[in-house]
Symmetry: C2
Subunit: 394 residues, 2 copies
């Protein structure tokens, strides 16, 4: 399949919608409004770089199909990328784009009222990136107090267990991710400007593998060099790579909108023994965690297995060691649901996917060797196949 949407069968979309409606019934909602582009995509197939203006998918318990609500000039994109019935694609007036005197959600609220749903219990995504304070304030102005409430990421939770088709896509994204990491490592050398490494990363991300093209990732590729390895979200510079230094790379392969992130640590020039040892401990910890990633075990049990290996070696990692992954749009590839951390008692099921973000930061240096994986009967199946341990570059 090389074109838009129609990647998933109508049956898969029906199954997703049915699951979401059950969750809505359970939570007491007649309507949910989903502005998270990942939720919009997962529910309908809608895809385009239009999430910089208000847009959403609305699910009503009694309606056969979701409604798409968005900017007039993007309605055609909804026709191209979804199988929604034409009357379910509802454009709002162009004049409302970035207008201090009116907001698209005025028209959304009026649509809800015109449909006769004025009394509906409405769940919104209070902490989704693009659901701004103004979106919420506008919407609430049309309904009673406490009628519009947080749906607690209801659709994000529904996305947690992947179908067979989704797992296949994640595997392809994982192959792209491996290929991107290998391209980055092949480019890294003393004297090469950081931005030239990243240029190669982007090229490989989009070129994809074996005719499976890549898509844009939800984070930009990250590289930190030398003492900047102590902070995780800095982006590249024009500086040339030094003769001897540690460098961390975090990047993703993406197929359709499914992101598979991967982290590796390299050393330009011969690495100190202690860095190599730390990398080996990390890999050992990951393998213990992957073995525990079976149906019936919990998120925190996987984390405990990893943490045990660290503790045995006199180390500790305070923050979570992983999070669920799948569909993602900028600025985040995490699903914002369960995490591999103490206290998270979510029970693993086959088809859940995680990024095992296994890194340890010491006072003077850090090291990360991550593994994205899918939960199977036999434990976590790695989605990538990049060299592990500390990678030394001559």
């Amino acid at each position: 399949m090389t074109d838009f949407a129609k990647i998933f069968s109508p049956q898969e979309y029906s199954r997703r919608l049915r699951d979401v409606k059950q969750r809505m019934t359970h939570a007491g909602f007649d309507i949910i409004i989903c502005q998270d582009p990942a939720n919009m995509y997962w529910l309908t197939g809608f895809d385009g770089w239009s999430f910089y203006v208000p847009q959403c998918v609305l699910v009503h318990l009694d309606e056969d199909a979701p409604l798409w609500f968005g900017r007039a000039q993007d309605a055609k994109a909804a026709e191209v990328t979804t199988d929604l019935p034409k009357q379910n694609i509802v454009p709002y007036s162009e004049i409302l784009v970035q207008n201090p005197d009116g907001h698209p959600y005025d028209e959304l609220a009026q649509l809800v009222q015109a449909k006769g749903w004025s009394g509906a219990r409405i769940g919104v995504e209070m902490d989704a990136h693009y659901y701004t304070a103004r979106c919420h304030q506008t919407l609430c102005g049309y309904f009673s107090e406490n009628q519009v409430v947080n749906n607690q990421d209801l659709v994000n939770w529904a996305r947690l267990v992947k179908s067979d088709t989704e797992v296949e896509i994640m595997r392809t994204a994982g192959r792209i991710s491996t290929s991107v990491m290998n391209a980055a490592i092949a480019k890294i050398a003393s004297g090469v400007p950081e931005n030239e490494v990243i240029a190669e990363v982007y090229r490989a991300q989009i070129a994809g593998v074996d005719g499976f093209g890549g898509n844009y990732s939800s984070f930009c590729p990250l590289i930190q060099v030398g003492d900047k390895t102590s902070t995780p979200h800095l982006t590249w510079t024009d500086a040339s790579l030094p003769d001897s230094a540690l460098a961390m790379l975090e990047l993703a392969g993406v197929r359709y909108r499914y992101n598979v992130p991967l982290t590796r640590t390299v050393h330009i020039g011969r690495a100190p023994e202690k860095a190599r040892n730390l990398a080996n401990i990390i890999v050992e910890g990951v393998d213990v965690g992957l073995d525990l990633a079976r149906p019936g075990n919990t998120c925190e049990e996987v984390e405990a297995g990893w943490q045990n290996v660290l503790n045995r070696n006199g180390l500790v990692k305070e923050s979570r060691v992983g999070y669920s992954i799948g569909v993602g749009y900028p600025p985040d590839w995490g699903e914002r649901t369960c995490s591999l951390r103490t206290g998270d008692k979510t029970e693993l099921q086959e088809g859940m996917c995680f990024h095992f973000q296994s890194g340890v930061w010491l006072d003077d240096f850090g090291c990360a060797v991550s593994e994205p994986f899918v939960v199977t009967e036999n434990g976590g199946e790695r989605l990538c196949d990049a060299e592990r341990g500390l990678i030394e570059i001559d």
Copy 2:
């Protein structure tokens, strides 16, 4: 300059802060809270891919420097990329990241109270992409009704007129943009998969020109082919380019975080006469608009000049024909301030920058030949130098 921040002089940051404080006084605010990453960058130099969690820059009228407030693990990035005094970098607890039971803005509100600013008049960015409904709800919980109100994009408006240093950066970004467009056009040919064109676009974006490295753009590169040219925000597929078709490209060159977007229309194979004619009318309209883009004229006068040329040729463009540009982060490179459209009476000043997004969509095809420009005494100075008109590719 190849490393982080320190791109702008301390004097430039002081001037920016002084201007913002004057606007605050005029608007009646003691404090503004800026979560828009572009505003955070412009006020302090802070840069990193951490805007997927709540973070902000807080400006208080009586304080010498802004406060940076963000996730603990990103505080080091604030030290690396800004010159803020150490005590002005305030980390929040890691446990509050994506936590249903607590929010980073609980700690932000407590910080404001602890500083003795409980009675302050607080302006927030109600419609900034990352200022979510939950951020606002959390913050408002600590203050009186109507104490926390919309600051109406106060800092975005302060960014409108660029300094000489900023204009120089925009010129460099424009050179990158030209180079990226040329790389895309060189790659386009019948039979080439769309994603391979985009892979080349990304490579060129990051490679930059003449040792000036590029940065990630606020939109992903856009390509629409054939009948998909009728909707503007679709992204690429794996499909091979056909033997004969119209294709539109919209992309940007980025230096530091300054985005210069550019649109061109190509025809694979010999183009129909009417498409070439339309492109020529567009270029004529742009040139009239550029000539009008002088200090003292208004945004709507520039638009009227362009629209006159269209009308003379029996054409019309309903939507705005341009918007201000400068610092941008995903998902948008527009500054969300003034637009080249009827009714916008903003008076042009030297150093304002715009994307003249000159496209016309007819029933059966569309064409866009845009020009990013900076306002000068002699009219709009083009920031790019890519081939104009309809570009035919053998």
